[in-house]
Assembly symmetry: C2
Homo-oligomer: 288 residues x 2
């Protein structure tokens, strides 16, 4: 029977320069300059900035800041809210937002745009949300190609399918990516341990993503989990086995950056970006 | 592209006698006699008792109580905790529990034993949990057959995969059922709107369960959802579209009882079993 991912040999240890710091791991309010500084101080080789902070300084300045610090960009967070954000008649609002994200990603040389799809909303229904998502994504293929930017579809945990993102499984993300973009030069998949660890066909689904993996996020599932959004664990702080996910991705050919992305109230309560970055680096080296 | 379940014609209205009241909808502490009385008063045709309450009065007395009230039993909740409950060396503990459940279910003429699999625990890993689950379930096939009892594998929402049940998708439940019991005379699948509404391939997965659907649970996904266990909605109180799930199940040949199962602090706060039962009946007639 197929059931998750059998224990496999541990992959090679991660080099610090291959590890990327998701900006929000430091907290939602930490600005880009502070995040870049903390990432460099902790030895990260890359960062994943959030658009609100990129826009706060402007995309050109943001790009300079990151390049000057010697950092790569694993992913730009986040876009593709075609679900609830789209207006019924034409979806123009979400499309406009996605086009902005494409320009941001091109300027930052981001490996991908982390695209989570949007949710259903309080009054919506899943069929309509996914129908709009599929049409909306198809509508930006040419723009992404023209800009030489990748769109990374990230399955989010089904518990946030109503509120944040309705790409709920790896198989569905891959189906969207391959159907919209059979060539594979624009649409890929983002694998995040927190969101996909529970999948019964995890090993097979990751293997199917060969050539389409745009990013790997390491983080963990705490037991018990007390909040649907802000109780994510650092690698090693739960049962999601992020290293196993990395090993599966590498077995499928992935050789890119490994990003630590943790939204956690306890971690944010430390309030010191340098301390949080150092903790994230240590956890990722040990368990990512 | 395949994405959930397209709007389909509404199924025929539910007759009250086809609706079953899950005992815990009334609250975790309500005893069987009180629950039976509330179910009858609200016009339910069936009940789904919890084992702790069945054991409190003894299975023979429980069976008499339910039959004398003219109620059927849609499902016995719950068993099959092979995940974390099993001892490493032989899994005997969970097996013994399941054998007790089989005797209970035979005595109560339950349509199925609601089998949720158990979780991973705080120190476990998903591979080991599912490996034990699969072996444990295979080990009780002959016992279930001998007793003429059905084992209904219920996919629980992935957010409780670590704590309660690691049968996380319909496809995996069906894969377990068909692999362990190719004939289909003992192992089936339980479909619960709250747990599966988000599945990207919902329509196809339900259709594949033809001849294997042991129970249909109606309930809803509230937006926002504030708790991982105790914030479930009554039918109509969210975005899960329980009636659509029933329609899909009936299109796949299901003609059995439809159970309303809602664990919700706000509902339990009413404290009056008759009021809660009446609210559950009204919501199920309108949206189930």
């Amino acid at each position: 029977m197929i059931s998750g991912s059998k224990p496999i040999p541990a992959p090679a240890p991660l080099a610090a320069e291959r590890i990327s710091l998701n900006q929000r791991t430091l907290g939602p309010e930490v600005d880009l300059a502070t995040a870049v500084e903390a990432a460099v101080a902790a030895g990260f080789g890359a960062i994943s900035p959030w658009r609100v902070h990129v826009e706060a300084v402007g995309r050109k300045q943001a790009g300079r800041m990151i390049r000057d610090a010697g950092l790569k960009v694993s992913g730009l967070c986040s876009a593709g809210f075609f679900g609830p954000g789209a207006r019924p008649e034409d979806g123009r609002e979400a499309r406009h937002d996605m086009l902005e994200a494409i320009e941001d990603a091109a300027e930052l040389a981001a490996a991908t745009i982390v695209t989570i799809g949007g949710g259903v909303g309080a009054d919506g229904d899943m069929w309509t949300a996914r129908e709009r998502l599929e049409a909306g994504l198809a509508g930006i293929l040419d723009d992404a190609r023209a800009a030489g930017v990748r769109v990374g579809l990230e399955p989010l945990h089904p518990m946030v399918a109503a509120d944040r993102g309705c790409i709920s499984t790896i198989a569905y993300a891959l189906e969207l990516a391959t159907t919209i973009d059979p060539v594979g030069d624009a649409f890929g998949v983002v694998l995040d341990a927190y969101h996909v660890w529970w999948e019964p066909h995890l090993a097979a689904s990751v293997a199917c993503c060969q050539g389409r993996i745009d990013a790997v996020h390491v983080c963990d599932w705490r037991v018990p989990t007390r909040d649907l959004v802000l109780d994510r664990g650092l690698p090693g702080d739960g049962v999601a086995q992020p290293r196993r996910l990395r090993a599966l991705a590498e077995a499928a050919g992935y050789a890119g950056l490994v990003e630590v992305e943790v939204f956690q109230r306890d971690l944010w309560a430390l309030k010191d970006p340098d301390k949080i970055a150092a903790a994230a680096m240590a956890a990722t080296l040990a368990h990512g």
